[in-house]
Amino acid sequence: MPRNYDIICLLRNRRESRQEQEKDVKALHSEFLMGNEAIALGALAAGVNLVCGYPGTPSTEVLETVAKRRGEGVYVEWSVNEKTAMEIAGGAAYAGARTLVTMKQMGLNVASDPLMCLEYIGVKGGLVVLTADDPGPISSQTEQDTRHFAGFSKVPCFDPSTAQEAYDMIQEAFDFSEQYGTPVLLRPTTRVSHGYASIRVKDPEEYRVNTPEGFVRDTGRWVIFPRLSNRNHRLIEERNAKLRDVLSDYAGNRTEAGEGEWAQCRKGLAAGGISYTYAMEARERTGRVPLLKISTPFPFPERKAAEFLAELDEVLCIEELDPVIERELIYICGKYGLKTRILGKQTGHMPLSGENTRDSVQAAVAAFLGLPAAEEDSPEPPALPVRPPVLCAGCPHRASFYAVKQAMRGKKTIFCGDIGCYTLGNAVPLDMVDTCLCMGAGLGIAQAINHLEPDRSCFAFVGDSTFFASALPGVVNAVYNQAAFTLVVLDNSTTAMTGHQPHPGTGRTMMGQAVDKVSIENVLRGIGVTAVETVDPLRLEEAVETVKRVSALPGVKAVIFRSPCVALFKSGKRMAADPEKCVGCGRCIREIGCPALSMNGKKISVDAAQCNGCGLCAQLCPVNALKEENHA
């Protein structure tokens, strides 16, 4: 394990002045980039050789941008899931490749087994694990905090506040990873990943070139055994203890002095991630109080923080998710015998959950400094429309759920949902998702209910990408353990919710190759599921009959609903309601809740901007009032 700390001086010098840095690098230009795009370009500038990952909001665009902007010799893939991606990343880093692996915070749970072990083994080529957190949460099941995962796995973590910082930071993270022989986490949050800014980036001729040495056999290094783990555990703890000092000189961990009336102020702020930018904006309004920015929450820059705290009586911590900075500062106060009061989530000065906003941080800082709160004089608006997210107009999942609902009407059933667009099948009037937990969990839940309630008809719905990512062990388990349930695969030929990524069933790779599709039917039959039927859900009658027939069979059986995502494959068709025929019964709206349908007076009206002409509504209309419209 290399123990060379010189790199930190290198990092510090590089960060000291952007102007100086730009003098060294001749060819820079500005681009308007999403934070995730900036991270991708930063990885390419750092000479990344291999990039892999699994889609997940808010991380997805990193890998997509690498695929779009990569030069010759950069390998990129969507792996089948995060665990596989982490293992591929580890192998590449063993061989000396600079490697980036991308996922959302929940994905790191799936990849945690290889990551925990990788930290003990270490890496040769730089390995950056990009894990995007989702305060809110906006598009996630949990508000888990990857900064804890850093401490738990002992993997150093960089936490950018802006897209520009993320661009610079990932390049530093690669150097850091190689110097210390450890994977490094880069943890943006949604507003950093999905914020856009004009960013200074290197021209491609300035990109670093990294030529991997190749894998060198060394069983004492690459084969994990208890003896190796015991030795490396000690070395890792020693290294991380030293890094608490070393990172105190890292330019990303810095203080802003109090200015003007706040120059001698005994109160200060501590912030990290996007909240740092909110705090800086708040300082512009309240006055410039002292501020500590934390860019490496683990290992924490202990000396830097202790010096900051020593000058202050009270510090307000501004961060999202868990009180990581807050607890570290309390620990440091205890360790150094400081009397500084640390305020934040644990003292009720900041919210315990959800996103921070410009306004919430402004209010908290003003209250902390004893300034009057901003006056809120917005007039009371009339009742606003409630807009829960819904399946798109024409989405084949709507037809699939409706077909199952029709087929099972009046029977004792449970419908286990999963993670993807089709979670939205829970909305009324479909109301077809009784459970949703995590990727692939619907299969396990359906099997369990069947063991406990054998007379209940159990269904597990899973999307095509989720099928390959997480459903296969559940199917094998059910076949082996003699469970009985109906697996419904909603195959829309893409990973839709995250923005249409290819997967093993699509026959396309991120390297641009056309490859053999992995057949869902063959996979299921290979496992031993004998009843496997495929049907187009937009042919309602046939779909209902298929579900009735297949679900009545014993054991594990499967219906594959195959129809492409409407957001990806434009039909060019649309429906129109004939006002002469429409009797205004509203059956179409009540049964399927398509967002393109509304009641205009006493007649149905079809929103031409939304309708994709799937024709499901026409198959329900009792008076044939809905017809496909001819249009240019």
């Binding site: 507003r191 800014a197 004009s198 906003t357 410009r358 608006p381 997210p389 809740g593």
Partner: protein
């Protein structure tokens, strides 16, 4: 020049592309831009917004309440939802065309768009309710609401950008076969 713009509407209405076009037009004039928008599940028919900030010395892409120079409302109810972000002397340009939520169609939640427009008339002094139904009919496509509203905002000087600046952004950001349609949409709101 420093400008804070909130674009708001319903997922699928094209707020993201509109935000992208403003940014491209500003970048072409060497104006620094930051923006943030809704991505993910809420894009599926939920309320969506973009915050867009132009000028120097900005830390965060997010706009605070009472800080927006312009709210570009793609839908009356969504414009009302975002009203607290408008500066007291800020401009609002809003589409007259409501998007009925499925919850309202199912009878669970009454939504009366005319109440929203009346509320805006009462509380926003610099308001332009664009007759987008008429404009879109003239253009011949229901899918270019975003360009109609951008054209309206440019006409009122609310973006610090001209219609020609936006046409140039369309040329660089959108496939050529859609240019003519988008150019027509940019002019459709009139002045």
């Amino acid at each position: 020049m420093r400008k804070n713009i909130v674009l708001c509407g319903v997922g699928g209405q094209g707020t993201v592309l509109a935000s992208r076009l403003i940014s491209a037009a500003a970048m072409a004039k060497q104006i620094p831009v930051m923006s943030a928008e809704t991505i993910g599940m809420a894009q599926r028919g939920g309320s969506v917004f973009s915050h867009l900030r132009m000028g120097e010395g900005i830390w965060s892409p997010m706009i605070a309440r009472g800080e927006a120079d312009l709210i570009l409302g793609f839908e009356p109810g969504e414009a009302v939802r975002m009203l607290p972000y408008l500066k007291p002397d800020g401009q609002m340009i809003v589409s007259s065309r409501p998007v009925m939520p499925v919850t309202a169609a199912l009878g669970g939640n009454a939504y009366r768009p005319e109440e929203m427009l009346a509320f805006l008339r009462e509380h926003v002094s610099r308001l332009w309710i664009v007759d987008t139904d008429r404009a879109l009919l003239e253009v011949g496509s229901a899918k270019v609401l975003n360009l109609v509203l951008l054209g309206a905002a440019a006409a009122r000087g609310a973006l610090g950008l001209t219609r020609e600046d936006l046409r140039e952004a369309v040329r660089t950001q959108i496939q050529e076969r859609f240019h003519a349609l988008n150019f027509r949409a940019l002019d459709a709101a009139g002045d």
